[in-house]
């Protein structure tokens, strides 16, 4: 219980740190939202309207910075995220984020979990068949794939499966613009088709790391006495491999999974940019291009929350899988 409370404390503290960084970067750096907004509207709006617009997303230049900070914290936590000052001037940030979120969760989320499961399985088998043909080549291959740049893999896949094959698989957007979004099989098929290449990019670049760490953990666990004990008892190979060795070897990987989510997000930004996939990463890119400060701030907060939630979930999973972590407290 103390263990979980400590993790919750860490969650709150990190979120606060992220929000604070998020608040102070715009205040410390040159370039102001006001200037960006003035450029964007080409002075078409009256100063009065501009002031009102700015006030509506919490920009009050005359207010004490400490009060501004408290207001900002409250607004972020209560979902009062203000309005966009980018391409979609005036649209509430929550609406924009709400449109993009499902695409990122669906495509990037599924690809990441798939890579983790696939990698851990391959790593388990490779370590189990130590010295086999598979284990002789796999580590080198996966060392190289785990170092590949996301965007390069994406470009390569586009070239091979879209350009050279006359558009066998689409390389742009999340579905054909000629289709109406609904739950028909045709539309769902189209969405899946559009997700294949970006998801494949993420799986290819992410799977290597999981294979390697899982293999190394397994090799260490397989040398433990309890594995030998299991064999002496005459347990089946399958049982020893999954219930005795892999269950223990997976623990460090699970905590690594949460930590790696930061890398996944960076990958998602690049992949979504290459494929024009309208998810959160693509949104962040656009926000940066248009100096859309409110949108940037909310996106950064959401990314932090995503990583922190993953860390928490993995902590709970570890507490459930590993009695030792509960006892240690």
């Amino acid at each position: 219980m103390r263990f979980l409370l400590r993790r919750l404390g860490f969650f709150v503290l990190t979120l606060w740190a992220a929000l604070t960084i998020n608040f102070f970067i715009p205040h410390l750096m040159p370039g102001s939202p006001l200037q960006a907004l003035r450029d964007r509207t080409h002075n078409k709006l009256s100063p009065q309207a501009l002031q009102e617009l700015l006030a509506s997303f919490g920009f009050k230049p005359n207010q004490n910075i400490f009060e501004q900070y408290l207001d900002y914290l409250r607004d972020m936590l209560t979902g009062h995220w203000g309005v966009s000052i980018g391409q979609t001037l005036g649209t509430p940030v929550s609406t924009i984020v709400g449109q993009a979120l499902p695409w990122t969760l669906g495509m990037v989320g599924v690809a990441t979990v798939l890579a983790f499961i696939l990698g851990s399985l391959v790593g388990t088998v490779a370590a189990w068949r130590r010295g086999g043909r598979l284990d002789a080549i796999l580590p080198s291959v996966f060392v190289v794939t785990s170092a590949l740049p996301y965007f390069w893999v994406a470009l390569l896949l586009i070239l091979m499966f879209s350009v050279w094959t006359n558009g066998l698989l689409p390389s742009d957007f999340n579905y054909d613009s000629s289709l109406q979004p609904d739950w028909s099989p045709e539309f769902i098929g189209n969405v899946l088709q559009h997700a294949v290449l970006p998801a494949a990019t993420i799986v290819i670049t992410a799977v290597g790391g999981w294979v390697l760490t899982m293999r190394n953990n397994m090799i260490t666990t397989l040398a433990e006495d309890y594995v030998r004990m299991g064999r002496a008892k005459g347990l089946s190979d399958r049982r020893i491999m999954y219930n005795y060795a892999a269950r223990n070897a997976l623990l460090p990987n699970l905590s690594g999974f949460a930590m790696s989510l930061g890398f996944v997000i960076s990958g998602a930004i690049l992949v979504e940019y290459v494929f024009n996939y309208p998810g959160l990463g693509y949104l962040l890119y656009n926000a940066v291009q248009n100096n859309d400060y409110p949108l940037m701030q909310v996106l950064f907060m959401l990314f932090t929350v995503a990583v922190l939630v993953a860390v928490l979930v993995c902590d709970f999973a570890i507490a459930w899988l590993d009695p030792r972590s509960r006892a240690k407290g």
Partner: protein, 311 residues
């Protein structure tokens, strides 16, 4: 059951004589195929970065000196860009910036992680609590969005901005490992005896503790360098670098914005991407090889040995 036998041969192999540092490390690198491949790639890029003029006759690769959009030929090995630059010459001259980013950002981030990780472990108490909290916060913060936002506010661009953000976001992973390693070494006899001898704290850390952590420090450096190469290329690819700089990432940015793939010039974006991938792979291979060298249990089991075990 055969796997059990293979496993035991692997573990009896483990207590191999511990190699001394220096000469021993070189032998270990030379006999490890992965390490050698990584080293050769790295040295090749280093040579290109030091003396690019030896590898191409073009002197100002960013000038729009040639016919735009030419296919590969004897005169232009990889063709020319849509803007009329020689792609091969740009690749050669772009090596330097990418390599400098990797080495400088990786190096400074490693120094930071050693400083913070080791002092957290060695000081203990409140200093440890606050330093490891700082490390953990930085570890969890999503760095790439942070970098994008920082790079935007700091004015798109210049090399120094990219270096600073890479260092600020790249040290935490190593620091965590340093702390764990230093904690486990803290109460060993050789440090105890140094303390009894009356050595100063700084002496103990620099001359007693750090040398035993060499392999971890090298690994942390390689990891940070890999991170820097990939992240810098990603940033420049997104157009957050200096658009006039000569680097692989900037080439990728121009190729992407000119639709190189769709207009039948795939080499323009594939070649610099391949270079980034190769440099990254060389760091990753060296890193993995160092893991194998410092932990013999991970080394590949020789096939012949495995066969004997089957018999």
């Amino acid at each position: 059951m055969t796997s059990l036998l293979v496993q035991t041969t692997a573990t009896t192999e483990t207590p191999a004589p511990i190699r001394r540092r220096g000469g021993g490390l070189w032998t270990a690198v030379r006999t490890n195929t992965k390490a050698m491949i990584g080293l050769v790639i790295f040295l090749l890029f280093a040579a290109i970065a030091i003396a690019p003029q030896l590898f191409t006759s073009v002197r100002h690769p960013n000038d729009l000196a040639f016919t735009p959009g030419e296919q590969p030929s004897g005169a232009h090995w990889l063709g020319t860009t849509m803007l009329g630059q020689d792609i091969y010459a740009q690749l050669i001259y772009g090596t330097r910036e990418s390599l400098v980013i990797a080495l400088v950002a990786g190096g400074v981030a490693t120094i930071l992680s050693v400083l913070i990780g080791v002092s957290a472990a060695y000081l203990g108490g409140f200093a440890d609590d606050s330093l490891s909290l700082l490390t953990n916060v930085f570890l969890v913060l999503p760095t790439f969005p942070l970098i994008i936002i920082l790079a935007t506010y700091a004015g798109k661009g210049s090399l120094s901005v990219i270096l600073v953000v890479l260092i600020v976001t790249g040290w935490s992973y190593g620091a965590n490992q340093m702390r764990a390693q230093a904690l486990s070494l803290r109460n060993r006899e050789f440090l105890e005896s140094a303390r009894v001898r009356g050595e100063r704290r700084l002496y103990i850390i620099v001359f007693e503790l750090l040398p035993t952590m060499t392999s971890l420090i090298v690994a942390a450096f390689l990891g940070a360098a890999l991170y820097s190469v990939l992240t810098a290329a990603g940033l420049q690819f997104l157009g957050l670098g200096d658009p006039n700089s000569l680097s692989w990432g900037t080439m990728l940015h121009w190729a992407q914005s000119q639709q190189a793939l769709q207009t039948g010039m795939p080499l323009w974006s594939l070649a610099p991407g391949l270079c980034v991938a190769l440099l990254g792979a060389s760091f990753a291979l060296l890193n993995y090889a160092f893991d194998e060298i410092s932990n013999p249990a991970l080394r590949p089991v020789r096939r012949i040995r495995a066969k004997r075990a089957h018999a």
